[in-house]
């Protein structure tokens, strides 16, 4: 190696380490900031009490419940639809069929649509056209549209990992399509489905822009799905932007949200690993 290329090599290596250190530093800065200001002052009461003085005082009890309901509606609608679509997409030969190709492309586009556009759509369709108004139901349905592509993609991945032999041996045994699906394919695809659900829940939890004008701002305890409900992320946004002196509680809420998301992420990677290992052992 020539001298100059040796020097170049060393320069590039140190540059790369520098960039990586910088990125890690920003990461620790963000986490540290939220952890320090939010985690240290968190009490159990904060999780159960209702917010007071526009959120400056009190807790986030009703907000957690609303968030749960919104995410629940989103998943209850999107999981059956998503699994159905994923089965269709993975069990049919995709490239040969214009119908399948069209579905695939439209899902690709759907995955890229900005959340604010989902918000506009939800407002126009669920709130206005269907007459649901600002409600947990409108917000949940809007989120269902948003998480659908994620759910379909990872469930499909799960179905694709089922070996082709299964289909052939099932056909050789003269099993019906539905029993093949139920007894052979679905169990094998469960890990992909679970990862998809967990990722979808994470995405729904984190969403703000799509909810501002579909589920609304009201921070009371919801009594029905047609009530307006404020999600945790909207609460953080509102406290930091519109409520002066709301920062301490915004920190705490952000900490709670991050905690939930980190747990969800850990669950996703744990599930994926667990099933992956088990599959290797059983085969």
């Amino acid at each position: 190696m020539t001298k100059s290329s040796c020097r170049k090599e060393r320069l590039v290596t140190s540059l790369i380490w520098l960039c990586v250190l910088l990125i890690s530093a920003v990461f620790f800065w963000i986490f540290g900031e939220i952890l320090w200001n939010g985690g240290s002052k968190l009490t159990f009461d904060f999780l159960t009490l209702a917010p007071k003085q526009a959120g400056r005082g009190g807790g986030i009890g009703p907000i957690l419940i609303s968030t749960l309901w919104i995410v629940g509606v989103a998943m209850a609608v999107s999981i059956p639809l998503g699994v159905g679509a994923a089965i269709l997409l993975s069990e049919f030969k995709s490239s040969e069929n214009i119908f399948i190709l069209l579905i695939r492309r439209s899902l690709d586009v759907l995955a890229g649509v900005p959340s604010i556009v989902f918000g506009l759509f939800g407002n126009a369709f669920f709130c206005k056209t269907l007459g649901l108004g600002f409600s947990i139901l409108s917000g949940g349905l809007t989120l269902a549209c948003m998480v659908l592509p994620i759910l379909i993609r990872s469930t499909e991945e799960g179905f694709r990992s089922v070996p082709e032999d299964y289909h052939l041996s099932a056909a050789a045994l003269g099993l019906s399509r539905i029993s093949t699906l139920w007894n052979l394919l679905l169990p094998a695809a469960v890990p992909g489905l679970i990862v998809g659900i967990v990722l979808g829940v994470g995405r729904a939890m984190a969403e703000t822009a799509a909810l501002i004008f579909t589920s609304g701002y009201v921070d009371r305890m919801p009594t029905s799905f047609l009530d307006s409900g404020r999600s945790l992320s909207i609460h953080i946004f509102d406290l930091s932007m519109n409520v002066s002196g709301g920062d301490p509680n915004a920190y705490r809420s952000a900490f709670v949200l991050m905690l939930i998301l980190v747990l969800i992420n850990a669950l996703a990677s744990f599930t994926a690993n667990y099933f992956f290992k088990r599959r290797i052992i059983t085969v």
């Binding site: 190696m1 290596t13 604010i116 556009v117 126009a124 549209c145 659908l148």
Partner: protein, 292 residues
Amino acid sequence: MILLKNNTLFLWPSDRILVWVLRFCAVIAAMIVFLILLFLLNESIPVLKHVGMSRFFFDSTWSPTEGLYNLLPMLWGTLFAMVGSVLIATPLGIISALFCHFYAPKPIAHIYRQIIQLLAGIPSVVYGFWGLVVLIPLIGQIQPPGPSLLAGILILTIMILPTLALSADASLANVPSSYLKGSAALGLSRWATIRGVVLPAAKSGLFTGVILEIGRAIGETMAILMVCGNVVQTPKNIFEPMRTLTANIALEMAYALGDHRSALFVSGLILMLVITGLVICAEILSRKIIYD
């Protein structure tokens, strides 16, 4: 008529019902995009009818209550924030992926991947909040007022970096190991291998990742709304506050009525069309293998 993989299995009536149920699910899933387009169009048509497309670019300013609809300042704002953040995030993301594959000892690469994954999972509202309480005061010290294009670019960079790094990581992992062995056997240095062999081989994957990131940068709303100051103006330098298209929708949708509301749907329609174009580009690129 759709053909099943094993057509002979079409014997039981329950199978036929199943196939129809599945088709129904898939059609609904696919319809959403078209529904979105339909509703955006439907809501935009009133304003397009009495105001017309050209006034969205040639009116004196954006003041919908007075009937002025110039979207250009917001378009520029979106463009500046996107270009700035993609320019910074792309090299950093690729460097992150290179680090994991070629420079880091295994345990460190593992930890670093975990960090990147966690960063990718942080909600945009938390990024925005962090920008609001940490970044803006810092920028304000250098050059008041603080909320600015620069803050937007930095926050967007931090936001799109992790997903870009993850997708670059995946495309580097797809580079066949025989290329690396071949390169080592020729006595090429690590950097020469990366520049001459790895990056060209991973090119199409990297490009696809960047294009999807451009889409995310354009569509991002909350974080940028919280740090950019939201003044309707074309920023003349990076320390001036500005407003993006997405922030504009989020800010005004709550009270907009009539033509104003319709105008916001027009900006939503523009976003939707741009994103669709980008997704199609990414699709085409990911299929093409680029040489030289």
